[in-house]
Amino acid sequence: MVHDQSLRIERVALLGLVTLLGATGDLATALAALGISAASALVVYAAWALVRLAASIPAAARWAACFAVGFAVSWALASVVPYVVPIRDGAVLFLRIAGLMPIVYYAAGDGATGRDVIVSWVQFALLMAGAGVVREFFGRGALLGYLPAGSFTIRAGFLASPTGAFLLVATVVLAARIVSAARARQTPGRAQGGGDE
């Protein structure tokens, strides 16, 4: 269990890394990916609770069943979402595999408490929405496809690109580490964040 919220952000960024990198090019896609991930996680947890009842099923088979369920949910929802929300062509791949990200299976793992899972999902939602806003507003000069009223932006196209995705996530992880280290200095005896896990 992670007590330091700053360090938890790094874990959450890694748990949902592929979705965070691939589906945050604009806010609408980011919110769609978040919804698909959350729906997949709910169904996977329900499936996990069911298969856990059958003690005779080996752990590998349980996880395989959960992977299949998670992928089926995200594929099905990703097939519907483009009719509701404008999704860029390249992002559909990431919506379809959103159900295979570790964040979806985090609640079924051994290491997380209920509170840990909920806080992680709140942070993941904030990361997805924040990355979507930053990358669309600064990268494309718009928000949800529209120029915000009264605003004026000079587009920084790299933020909408894969380079911008990596830079944004790396910056968040580094910022979390710096905050954690600063807190550790203020609180003697508290472990400093970072290093190899």
Partner: protein, 179 residues
């Protein structure tokens, strides 16, 4: 340039499954600990991605799209089983089996490859993706190792360095264009 070498180079560089197309980014960020210890895992992952890409991508490219998700997940799980059989992904990661790291690349590479409409292009794309993955996997192992033994504070070691390095790779790979 003819189609097959172009697709191969595109898949290895511009559409590399770690850097520009992301599907293998997590496993490459998390698993490799050093360059030397990464060679064999990189080879195993590359061979598996190649076979899985050809099998899943080839079947989907040649058949109806309605069966695609079933094909992708079955082939992905078979690929995962083969990786486990050769000794990869045996440990845990954040309370989950490490296998959870591999499903996205195993399924994602099939989906990337399946967009090709000719079997020769499917093989070229799967080969390029596999080699591109292996190269970046070893590179990230080296970067992680060098950051871990550097003299800076723990704050700046490992994950931030690896992610910033991927941003630099993305800039470099974006510079390639094959006609």
């Amino acid at each position: 340039m003819s189609d097959i070498p172009r697709v191969f180079l595109d898949a290895m560089l511009i559409e590399n499954p770690v850097v520009m197309t992301f599907v293998g980014a997590l496993i490459a960020v998390v698993l490799p600990r050093s360059a030397r210890s990464s060679y064999l895992p990189a080879l195993r992952f590359a061979v598996t991605l190649f076979v899985v890409g050809i099998a899943g991508g080839g079947i989907v490219a040649a058949s109806s799209s309605t069966a695609a998700p079933a094909v992708h997940i079955v082939v992905g799980l078979l690929g995962l089983g083969s990786l486990l059989a050769v000794g990869e992904l045996r440990g845990e990661w954040l309370g989950m089996p490490q296998a959870v790291l591999a499903m996205a690349p195993l399924v994602g590479v099939q989906m990337l490859v399946a967009t090709r409409d000719d079997f020769g292009l499917v093989v070229a794309a799967a080969g390029g993706s596999a080699i591109g993955f292996a190269v970046v996997y070893v590179l990230l192992g080296a970067i992680r190792e060098s950051s871990r033994i550097s003299e800076t504070t723990d704050t700046f070691k490992t994950n931030p360095v690896v992610l910033f390095s991927l941003a630099v790779f993305a800039i470099a790979f974006a510079g390639f264009l094959f006609w």
